[in-house]
Every structure is written in structure tokens, then in C-alpha cells.
């Protein structure tokens, strides 16, 4: 055969090159086989790295990367290195689901984690349960995930909205009164959160009004005008991220802090850092706090991770990722397997050791609903204290997770295992 009738297609030199390559492969083959034996444990991490919740997502990813580095230094999981595959859900449900399919079907991950956005976390559950992959939700709060729609393969690290609401309602009623006005984001998280607040408030004999607003609402003046007219004892700001911050700023600018108390279920350190000094006020729940003088392991954790965060203190989001990834290690080692069903069984009621729990009380993923029974830190937001620029929250009381969550049966969760 010839190329354009002028010469051979396969020249002698080419044949020699191919031959040398094949020969080299013979020597390389044992190394390839060896590498297969050390195939990494793959963890797929889906979070909204772009979009309005990105600050929270980035913290979770930072926490996950740091934890994986630490695990790999100590021998990984079951003696295998851990590989973290991070995907951006872009705060969009369709994208999140697509990324879950990609991670499971193409990348063959052993575990899925995500998403900060409750709606996306809930949607991803559909994929992970169908594909029978262990799924840990580090930071999506809507209740059905470990409530009426719970699944055998899904565990949640952050609190339910019911836990957050139950933890702070008593304090707010006791200190300020029973007439409340809610400002709540109009999506899965906000709706369940407000329902839980209302349930607790009604039990205490309270009354309320409120507005459900778009999740990325920017201007709160119209709603605050309504709130002021209602003359509540407490204004509940249930918004998240930048929206929560804008609502607080306008609340203070309009002089409403002198007329009513401000509170809410959940505050994040990431948001607090951006709040002007004059707007640092109100009663909230922190799902984990970096300053726990009575828990020695916390200081060790903070001192270890802070340098990788540019000297900042870790937030609850970093802790969520830290606990979630360590939970995989604990489950795999107890089950001696990476099979989802075996790991899920192993994780049920597994008490986290103190250096993972980093909390005053013992905590575990409850068998009845797969919800982590973590402590809740109720307290006041404050201008930066003696502990540095991140000393923005004063813990007034710690509510044990079981107490805030109530019995597992009451969540409506009925776990059915695959045959």
C-alpha cells in the first residue's frame, strides 16, 4: 500500500516506535494492576458553589477538602485513599440532579453528599435511592429528608427546621412575648421552618402574621412596613444568606430594633461576618460553634483547620462536612465494606467519637430517621468580642438534639430497606 502512491504508510521508524511502546506496557502492567488495588474511595460532593448560597457551599467544600486531606494522611478509608469529586449544582435543581447522575454513573462514586439547598438535596435523594448509593446531606434543612420522605440510604448532618425552631421558640417567648411576625423564604426550607415555628408558638398560645418572600429577595422595605404596623413582640427573620443580611440591615435602619426583638432559627457565621456592627443583634440558633471552652477537642480542630481558612474560624458548614466525611469512614470501617446497605446499617445509632462530634453532648445518627442528634447552640449575635473578629455569637444555652427533635416516630419517617 502506498500514500498518494509515493511511499509506504507505515514506515520502519513508526513500526519501531509502536513496538517500543508495546514493550514498555509489558513492564508497566504490574504497576497498573497495583494501582487498581488501591482504587480510591470516591466521595461525590454536590453543592451550589455559584448562586445565592455559594458562601455556605464554599465553606462546606473547604471543610470537605481539609477532612479528606487529614484522612488520607492517616491511611484513608479501609486502607484506600479518599478522592473528593466536587460538583457545582449552581443552586438549580435540574443541574443538581444531573450532577448526581454524572457522579454515580460516570465517576462511580461510593457516596454522594449534598446539597446546601434543601430543594436540591431533596431532589438528589430520588437519584441516590434509585441507584442505591449512600447519601449524606451535610447542610440541607427541610424536614421531609429525614421525615415523611426519609430513605434507607439518606442521612442528614445539619438539623431539621423542626429542631431549630423548637430550640429557640421557648427562649423568644419567655424573653419577649408571643406576638410574632415572620419573614420567610418561599421554598421548601422556609415553609417547613415557619410551619414548625407556628406549631410551637400556637402551643405557647401565641399569635402571628408573616410574609413568604422570594428566596433571593433584595428589598424588604415593603414587608417591614407591614411588620411595623402589626406591632409584634418578635420579628422572625427566616431568610438565608444575603437576603437575611439585607433584611437585618433594613430592620435596623428603619429603627425597628427599638420596638421589637429580632430572632430566627438559623444564623451562619459566613453571613454574620458581613453584617454591619449596628445590625449585629437578635436571638438565633447556631448549629455548631467554634468557641466551646468546655470541649477540648474543639480547640484542637479549630487550631488545625484555621490556617487553611486564612486564619478564619471554622463555621458550622465546615463542621457539617467534617462530620459527614468522617461518618463515611466510621461506617465503612464498622461494616468493613463500602456497600451502601451495609454502611447505612452500620451508621445507624453509631455514636460519634468526641474528636468528630466536637460537641458537649454525645451525638449520633438516630436509627429511627437517620437524623444526626447534634447539640443546638441558642444565643445572641453580638459585635466582635474579645475572641477576635469571628467572636460574633454568645452562646446562652445548649439544647440537646434529642430534646429539640422529639421522638423519631413523630417525624413521620418509616424507613424501608431494600430486599
Amino acid at each position: 500500500m502506498s500514500r498518494n502512491g509515493k511511499g509506504p504508510i507505515l514506515r520502519r521508524r513508526r513500526v519501531l516506535q509502536v513496538g517500543a511502546g508495546v514493550g514498555a506496557l509489558q513492564f508497566a502492567a504490574p504497576f497498573i494492576i497495583q494501582a487498581r488495588g488501591e482504587q480510591p474511595v470516591k466521595i461525590g460532593f454536590i453543592d451550589p458553589i455559584t448562586g445565592s448560597l455559594s458562601a455556605l457551599a464554599v465553606s462546606e467544600v473547604e471543610g470537605a477538602k481539609w477532612t479528606v486531606d487529614q484522612l488520607n494522611k492517616k491511611g484513608g478509608i479501609l486502607g484506600r485513599p479518599v478522592e473528593l469529586l466536587v460538583e457545582d449544582s449552581a443552586n438549580d435543581t435540574g443541574t443538581g440532579v444531573q450532577k448526581a447522575h454524572k457522579l454515580i454513573e460516570r465517576d462511580k462514586v461510593d457516596v454522594i453528599m449534598g446539597d446546601v439547598n434543601s430543594g436540591i438535596a431533596y431532589a438528589i435523594m430520588g437519584v441516590t435511592s434509585e441507584k442505591r448509593v449512600l447519601h449524606i446531606v451535610p447542610g440541607g434543612h427541610t424536614d421531609p429528608i429525614t421525615g415523611k420522605d426519609c430513605k434507607w440510604n439518606t442521612f442528614r448532618t445539619c438539623n431539621t427546621t423542626a429542631m431549630d425552631a423548637a430550640a429557640v421558640t421557648g427562649e423568644l417567648v419567655k424573653k419577649f412575648g408571643k406576638k410574632w411576625f415572620f419573614i420567610t423564604p418561599d421554598y421548601a426550607y422556609g415553609k417547613t421552618l415557619q410551619e414548625n415555628f407556628v406549631k410551637n408558638l400556637k402551643k405557647a398560645g401565641g399569635t402571628y402574621q408573616g410574609d413568604m418572600l422570594p428566596i433571593a429577595n433584595t428589598d424588604f422595605s415593603a414587608t417591614l412596613i407591614k411588620a411595623k404596623a402589626y406591632k409584634p413582640d418578635v420579628l422572625l427573620n427566616n431568610m438565608g444568606g444575603a437576603a437575611q443580611l439585607n433584611c437585618m440591615k433594613q430592620f435596623v435602619q428603619f429603627g425597628m430594633a427599638k420596638e421589637m426583638a429580632l430572632g430566627g432559627a438559623l444564623y451562619e457565621l459566613e453571613t454574620l461576618r458581613s453584617v454591619p456592627k449596628e445590625a449585629l443583634t437578635g436571638w438565633w440558633v447556631m448549629e455548631w460553634w467554634w468557641n466551646q471552652p468546655n470541649v477540648p477537642a474543639v480547640k484542637q480542630f479549630v487550631d488545625s483547620i484555621s490556617p487553611t481558612l486564612g486564619g478564619k474560624k471554622p463555621s458550622a458548614r465546615h463542621w457539617f462536612a467534617y462530620v459527614s466525611i468522617n461518618a463515611v469512614k466510621l461506617a465503612a470501617e464498622k461494616a468493613k465494606s463500602l456497600e451502601a446497605v451495609k454502611m447505612a446499617h452500620a451508621l445507624e445509632d453509631l455514636e460519634l467519637p468526641p474528636d468528630i462530634a466536637l460537641s458537649p453532648n454525645k451525638i449520633k445518627y438516630r436509627a429511627g430517621d437517620h437524623q444526626l442528634m447534634s447539640d443546638l447552640f441558642v444565643g445572641q449575635v453580638q459585635p466582635a468580642g474579645a475572641g477576635g473578629p469571628d467572636d460574633l455569637f454568645k452562646v446562652e444555652s445548649v439544647v440537646p438534639g434529642e430534646q429539640a427533635a422529639g421522638p423519631a416516630e413523630a417525624t413521620g419517617c418509616k424507613i424501608s430497606w431494600p430486599a
Binding site: L213, A222, A242
Partner: protein, 289 residues
């Protein structure tokens, strides 16, 4: 209830005035260049972030003057380097190009300043309410409205009394004839894009003072601008002015009665306008087609 409605009517006009500022820049670019600039909100964010960088050195007032100018220069350069290549192509090219540009600018902000919200400090006195009764009208909001009035007045004067402004107006009506008369249309488009970017930058500084900064702030604020342009009518700056105020008031009043629909109502208005009067309230016939 009447007081609540009146309060929200006033509040809606304040919010609407801000929409006007954003929408005017967008409208100018659409009118002359036929480019729907999906990156307009990201120019707004850049304006805010530049002010954040400048404020420690030249204060809020200095940043308010310098940041929009720097945003305008950036807009001028981007138009020269990127946007001008799609003028002669199908509209879909400019849509896709500016859409992609928006993502790039957003990621640039995220890369440089991080994903967390950042505050832009304004003079402390401006955060206070004007009177205890009108508690929702802070001095900063009054200032924002004043800036919008000055900017709109300045823009209309620029378009009416300067040579470049008159050429931009003429080009909006018939660019081919303006070109045939020897006007450098390429330069005209660049100046026009820079003016649009200046308005975005100005809106960005004002928005940052009120809402703080985050890389997505442009996304949250850009849709009302588009709707103001469509409702007011493509080709008409007066229409844009009217459209911005209308959707601001509609959104505020809806919050009184049905808050979940505060965002949706502006889309309903847009749909109604497109159904009943596709050219918009004061738009030029055929511009939207």
C-alpha cells in the same frame, strides 16, 4: 390599611427609581446597538466591587464618582474588543456572547473578592430615617432617589444638547442614515456602550451601599431592568423611566396583599403589555420585532 398602601406606594416609587437607573443603561445599549446586554447586571456588580476597593482610599463619595467612570472605561474596552464583532450577526450571537460574558464577570468577582457577602460602608448619618413616622425613608434612600433624578436629567440633557448625544438619538431612529451622513457609527456605539456601563456602575455603587455586595447581586437586580425596558417600550427612554416606576410600585403594593407574588407580578405586567401592546407603553413600533 390606607396608610399601609400609601407607605408602600411611596416605597414602590423609591424602589422603582432605582430600577429606572439600571434600566436606562440597558435601554440605551439596546436602542442604538440592538444588543440585549445580559451582562449588564454584572457591570453593576463590578461597579459596586470597585467602589468597595476604592472606599478605604477616597471614601464613599469619591468612590461614587470614580467607580462608575472606571466601569464605563471597562465597558468601552469590552465593547471594542468583544461586543462589536456581533453587531452584524444574528441577534442570537449577541445574546449568547453577553450571557457568557456575564458568567465570566461573575466568576471574576467571585475569584477576586470571594463568595461571601461584603459590606460597602456608607456615611453613618445616611442610615438614619428621615422622620420617625416615615421610618422606611432613610437619608440614603432619599439620596438614591436624588442621584437617580440627577442622572436621568443629566442623561436626557446629554442626549439633547451634546453632539454625541444627538447622534446617539438619531442612530436609535435610523443608524444606516446616520452612517451614510458620515458619522463614525463604530465610535458612536462604543461611546453609547460606555454611557450604559457608567449608569450600571452608578447603580452598582448605590445598590452596594444599600444591600452590600455579593457576586450574584447583578443577577438578582437585572430582571426588573429588562422588564422595565420591555414594559416601557424598546426604543423609548421615557418609556423605560415609566416602566421602572410602574413595576416598582406594582411590586411594593403586591407585597401588602400577596407577598409571595411580589416578584411574579412584574412578569404578569410584562406578559399583559406584550399581549395587549407588544411595542410597550411608549415604544417604537417594530423595535421589538
Amino acid at each position: 390599611m390606607l396608610q399601609l398602601v400609601l407607605f408602600n406606594l411611596t416605597n414602590g416609587l423609591i424602589v422603582g427609581a432605582f430600577y429606572v437607573l439600571m434600566a436606562l443603561g440597558l435601554s440605551m445599549i439596546i436602542n442604538l446597538s440592538n444588543v440585549v446586554n445580559f451582562a449588564h447586571g454584572n457591570f453593576l456588580a463590578i461597579g459596586g466591587y470597585v467602589a468597595f476597593v476604592l472606599t478605604p482610599f477616597i471614601g464613599f463619595w469619591g468612590a461614587l464618582l470614580v467607580s462608575p467612570l472606571l466601569t464605563a472605561i471597562m465597558g468601552y474596552v469590552i465593547e471594542k474588543v468583544v461586543i462589536r464583532h456581533v453587531y452584524t450577526r444574528n441577534h442570537i450571537y449577541s445574546l449568547l456572547l453577553t450571557f457568557g460574558l456575564g458568567f465570566i464577570l461573575q466568576d471574576v468577582c467571585r475569584y477576586i473578592w470571594g463568595p461571601s457577602p461584603l459590606p460597602l460602608n456608607i456615611p453613618a448619618d445616611m442610615s438614619a430615617a428621615v422622620t420617625p413616622d416615615l421610618f422606611f425613608i432613610t437619608w440614603y434612600r432619599v439620596f438614591m432617589v436624588a442621584v437617580v433624578i440627577v442622572a436621568v436629567g443629566g442623561l436626557f440633557a446629554f442626549l439633547r444638547y451634546t453632539r454625541v448625544g444627538m447622534r446617539i438619538r438619531a442612530g436609535t431612529l435610523d443608524l444606516d442614515t446616520v452612517s451614510a451622513l458620515g458619522v463614525n457609527v463604530s465610535a458612536l456605539r462604543s461611546y453609547n456602550f460606555a454611557v450604559g456601563s457608567f449608569l450600571a456602575g452608578l447603580a452598582g455603587v448605590l445598590a452596594a451601599g444599600q444591600l452590600g455586595l455579593n457576586p450574584n447581586m447583578g443577577d438578582d437586580l437585572i430582571m426588573p431592568s429588562f422588564i422595565a425596558v420591555i414594559v416601557g417600550g424598546v426604543g423609548s427612554l421615557t418609556g423605560t423611566l415609566l416602566g421602572g416606576l410602574l413595576i416598582g410600585v406594582a411590586s411594593a403594593l403586591t407585597t401588602v396583599f400577596y407577598p409571595s407574588a411580589a416578584d411574579a407580578v412584574i412578569y404578569v405586567i410584562m406578559a399583559l403589555v406584550l399581549l395587549i401592546r407588544p411595542r410597550g407603553l411608549l415604544g417604537e413600533e417594530g423595535m421589538l420585532q
